[in-house]
């Protein structure tokens, strides 16, 4: 990019700050129910806190102007240092506001608990198992017996129930326009429920730093109507199976250039990945010893070409 364009970008800042051409991403532009609730909560909280903040911005310049040294006609009371009514006010108002905020926090936190169904009365959610790997995400659709890497396709309007783990350091899974994130940790399972509202392609990523290719650990989320979703499932079935050997290769530290698709998944793959870090009662002897090689011990992370996976 040349200098002139950079300069014009810089000059465009005031325009951008008015909010008219923000990147349409994150909770400011929700595309799912969770993100929408978070957005509303953000706005509500901000407005309530403004009750305390705005007076500061009003009073500060007024006080500075009125009581400056060179203005001699304003009252000067060097020993005035206490007034009960003011004390009650400055402790009381924040107390009431935090009380209100706490009520709304408690309510919304429970409503958006990632472990709970968003719509308990609705139809069964789509189950997806997520495995955080260095530096990509593996998505297993247990009900469809397919898997994909770095591409997540979701049917519109249907609740999705994610179960997550990691086979490597900690990671944090998030799709900014859909809402909440949750950590994925080796040997443990976490859960997340999301609900899509809008057709389109969104981006997802890992937000917890996990090494030199951290910034490349991103994936595409495609929200499709039922037909599009079924088409993708069908197309995905044409992919090679995710055998234990294929998984062991995938789990090595590497980035993938394009999404990968797998037409079948080794039985209980997700549970085996979780179990391999559990001491003593190792229920997955076949995976034992397949732990990913530490990145530094390998010469360099390399791309696995999309077609190279068996």
């Amino acid at each position: 990019m040349n200098f002139a364009r950079r300069l014009s970008c810089l000059l465009a800042i005031p325009l951008l700050l008015t909010g008219c051409s923000l990147a349409k991403d994150g909770i400011l532009f929700p595309a799912g129910r969770v993100a929408a609730i978070q957005h509303d909560h953000l706005v509500r909280t901000t407005l309530l806190v403004m009750i305390v903040i705005v007076p500061v911005f009003v009073m500060l310049p007024v006080v500075l102007w009125r009581y400056r040294l060179t203005r001699r006609d304003s009252t000067y009371r060097p020993d005035w240092d206490f007034a009960w009514p003011l004390e009650v006010f400055i402790w009381g108002v924040p107390f009431v506001i935090v009380g209100l905020l706490s009520f709304s926090l408690w309510h919304t936190t429970h409503r958006l608990d990632p472990y709970e169904r968003l719509d308990p009365a609705g139809r069964d959610p789509l189950r997806i198992e997520v495995v955080g790997l260095d530096w990509k995400f593996l998505f297993i659709y247990p009900d469809e017996n397919i898997a994909s890497v770095n591409e997540l396709v979701l049917p519109e309007g249907r609740e999705v129930a994610f179960t997550l783990t990691a086979d490597g350091p900690m990671m944090s899974f998030v799709v900014p326009r859909l809402g909440s994130q949750i950590y994925a940790m080796a040997g443990m399972e976490t859960q997340l429920h999301l609900l899509t509202d809008e057709l389109g392609d969104f981006r997802g990523m890992n937000t917890q730093f996990n090494g030199r290719h951290f910034h490349e650990q991103k994936f595409v989320v495609r929200v499709r109507d039922d037909e599009g979703y079924r088409d993708w499932i069908a197309a995905n079935r044409a992919g090679a199976p995710m055998t234990l050997a294929a998984y062991a290769r995938l789990a090595r530290p590497s980035t993938v250039a394009r999404p990968l698709h797998f037409g079948a998944v080794a039985p209980n793959l997700f549970d085996r990945i979780v179990a391999k870090y559990r001491p003593a009662k190792n229920t997955a002897p076949m995976l034992h010893g397949d732990a990913p090689h530490p990145p530094e011990l390998r010469p360099a992370a390399h791309d696995i070409p999309a077609g190279a996976m068996p």
Binding site: R6, L10, I13, L16, A23, A35, Q38, L42, T45, T46, V49, V52, I53, L60, L64, Y67, R68, L69, S74, T75, P78, W80, D81, F82, L86, E87, I90, W91, P94, V98, L101, L105, W106, T109, R111, L112, Y115, G168, P169, M170, S172, P176, G179, S180, I182, Y183, A186, Q191, T207, F209, N210, G211, R212, H213, F214, H215, E216, Y277, P294, E296
Partner: protein, 687 residues
């Protein structure tokens, strides 16, 4: 034994290839500066024949005032380094939108890891420890800290930690796991090599030093107050120092335990935090933040104390709501231990746990908000002088409430779930720590500088520094709020969205402005030293101060007070000035005992530094030798019975009377002439 074994026994894992050149221009420049700057100091000291002076007057001193100054010097050196790293990171992100930028991702990771570590442990902590060290004993009318030797040991352990961080610029590499060094990423399988070990030992040394300081400060405040100085007559800065000290005592040990367990994992094959064999990384997160959240208040409370002094002095007014302020500080200190879990809302605990910690976090907003209003009411009906420290205070008040807002927002788990690990968070904590802590410490530096060195700082360059720092802060961090809400993650070496670019460029411009601000501080210092005769204020009270430290010559004598004051009010010195008793001769003088200088704390620090460096490189013999030398020096000290030196009453009388004569002869000047050369440090008492 083979040759290879011998090399391992002698040099551990250290190899020629760990020394520069490092094959990376920026890293080589950094290493060059880290070698050249100390060399230049050595050459300068040799040429000027100043080694003996440095050793006898400074390095071996147990005087709390000199130790405070040395802490501050460490802070400024590390601040310079951390600022350069911050600028590099802003440059990298601004240039790395759909491009590679200027540094490799691994180098970028080292930058954010060292930046955080250097800023928290080696800039903010030494700075605030230095200011408390200098000011607190003077404010409570004490002659020194209760344990002067312990104080020096704390200083030299901190210096040793800073030395380890600096060594990583030259020899080998620093960690890439961030300042919080979360396992399992920092465990050997994912972070082999010396980087994390550098982090572990640097932070361990600093945290032990801070805990020792905390004990010393708390005991001093409890035991050394002048006659009549009841707790509720202490200046607010001392209250803040007390709460900070208590937090240091209780918050540092969990960090030492966490780094110790991580070291056991890495060195001895334990499995506290590993992925496998029953390790649990959440145990680390809990322990780290059990330290890490109170740490935030360790950083900000002393600054709250400084703001209270600065705002009340430059408004020519008593502090509004003193009991309210004290109560608020205590509330903050206690609550700070109840909120650590908000750092990992997204690790999968239940909604009720998250909500409880979210509410606890928001509760801290109440006393903090009260303090902001108390400061505003302190200015109300005052006579406000917009000197440089006061200008910083204004930026602080305005920016701090914005940071408070984003803090309340982040305390809400529903929103945190969306912006956790994003640049929104980065913006939030910089918004608290830059105007809160750093501006506070800079204001304190400008405010107390004439007390420390006997001359005022140049006002014009102080204001220029204020403009650059304030504008730079706003430009560098406000765009990050927006980027965070748009889903830009922290610790990212490269972005893939063109929409981010203008915001990142703007933030980079802000970083430049901050860099100018730092240069302005250096220019201010240089100009002021050059014009020190014109700016001299040796009598000691240039700002019409309220508390006891202003009732001493500038710089104060080694024993602080020739005669201990009788304290009658929170603003004893104001009372004295109004009664015109401030510069009256006392009835009698007594001999004063002060600690003798000793080189043992320096030896302990150097030995600890050798030990830590050797541990990093697995040079076991040197590690054992360093450890033994440090403890050996301490044991030698314990046999030294001749630790005090007496200053005869006659000497005290002579010095004190000379000062009183000069003070009585000086023309008291009013606040309009505050910045004139006429201000020699005797102020007209405001009524």
């Amino acid at each position: 034994m083979t040759g290879h074994d011998w090399i391992y026994w002698l040099f551990g894992t250290l190899r020629w290839s760990d020394f520069p050149p490092k094959g990376d221009l920026i890293a080589d420049c950094a290493a060059g500066i880290a070698i050249a700057a100390p060399l230049a100091v050595v050459v300068l000291l040799t040429v000027k024949h100043r080694w003996r002076w440095l050793w006898e007057e400074w390095l071996t001193s147990l005087d709390h005032k000199r130790i405070g100054i040395m802490y501050t010097v460490i802070a400024f050196v590390m601040l310079a380094r951390a600022l350069i790293e911050a600028g590099l990171m802003r440059m990298q992100q601004a240039l790395a939108v759909n491009a590679d930028g200027v540094v490799s991702p691994e180098h970028f990771a080292q930058l954010f890891s060292t930046h955080g570590t250097a800023m928290i442990f080696f800039t903010a902590m030494p700075f605030l420890t230095g200011v408390i060290n200098y000011v607190m004993p003077l404010q409570i009318g004490a002659r020194d800290l209760t344990f002067p030797f312990l104080n020096a040991v704390g200083l030299w352990l901190t210096a040793a930690g800073a030395g380890i961080v600096m060594a990583s610029l030259v020899v080998g590499k620093f960690a890439i796991g961030g300042w919080s060094a979360y396992p399992p990423f920092t465990e050997t399988p994912f972070s082999p090599g010396e980087g994390v070990d550098y982090w572990i030992w640097a932070v361990s040394l600093a945290s032990v030093g801070s805990m020792l300081s905390g004990i010393n400060f708390a005991v001093t405040i409890y035991k050394e107050r002048a006659p009549g100085m009841q707790l509720f007559r202490m200046p607010l800065f001392c209250w803040c120092a007390l709460c900070t000290a208590i937090l240091m005592i209780f918050a540092m040990p969990p960090l030492t335990v966490a780094t110790g367990l991580l070291a056991l994992d890495r060195y001895a094959g334990f499995h506290f935090f590993t992925n496998d064999l029953g390790g649990n990384m959440m145990a680390y997160a809990n322990m780290f933040w059990l330290f890490g959240h109170p740490e935030v208040y360790i950083l900000v409370l002393p600054a709250f104390g400084i703001w209270s002094e600065v705002i009340s002095t430059f408004s020519g007014k008593r502090l509004y709501g003193y009991p309210s302020m004290v109560f608020a500080v205590m509330c903050i200190a206690v609550l700070s231990f109840t909120v650590w879990l908000h750092h990992f809302f997204t690790m999968g605990q239940s909604a009720s746990v998250n909500a409880a910690f979210g509410i606890a976090t928001m509760l801290i907003g109440i006393p903090t908000g009260v303090k902001v209003y108390d400061w505003l009411l302190t200015m109300y009906r005052g006579r406000i002088r917009l000197t440089a420290p006061m200008l910083f205070a204004i930026t602080f008040i305005a920016c701090f409430v914005i940071g408070g807002l984003s803090g309340i927002i982040l305390a809400n788990p529903p929103v945190d779930f969306a912006v956790h690990n994003s640049l929104f968070l980065v913006a939030h904590f910089h918004n608290m720590l830059v105007p809160g802590t750093l501006f506070g410490l800079l204001a304190g530096y400008m405010f107390w500088f004439p007390k420390v060195f006997g001359f005022r700082l140049d006002e014009r360059w102080g204001r220029i520094a204020w403009v650059c720092w304030s504008g730079g802060f706003l430009a560098a961090f406000m765009p990050l709020y927006i980027l965070g809400l748009m889903g830009a993650t922290r610790r990212t070496a490269q972005f893939y969205r063109a929409e981010y670019e203008p915001f990142l460029l703007f933030a980079w411009a802000g970083a430049w402005l901050i860099a100018f601000g730092f240069v302005a501080l250096l220019v201010q210092l240089w100009l002021s030293v050059k014009r020190r005769d014109e700016l001299a204020a040796p009598i000691g009270d240039p700002w019409d101060g309220h508390s006891l430290e202003w009732w001493t010559p500038s710089p104060p004598p080694e024993y602080n007070f020739a005669v201990l004051p009788k304290v009658v009010d929170t603003e004893t010195f104001t009372v004295m000035k109004r009664q015109e008793s401030a510069y009256r001769s006392p009835d009698s003088y007594e001999d004063i005992e002060v600690p003798r200088n000793t080189g043992i704390p320096v030896i302990i620090g150097a030995a600890a530094c050798v030990c830590a460096f050797a541990l990093v490189w697995h040079i076991w013999w040197a590690a054992v030798a360093g450890f033994a030398a440090a403890w050996g020096a301490l044991i030698v000290r314990s046999f030294d019975t001749d630790q005090m030196r007496t200053i005869p009453a006659a000497d005290v009388r002579r010095q004190h009377e000379a000062w009183l004569t000069r003070a009585r002869a000086a023309t008291p000047i009013d606040r309009f002439a505050e910045l004139e050369p006429a201000n020699r440090g005797r102020a007209v008492a405001t009524q």
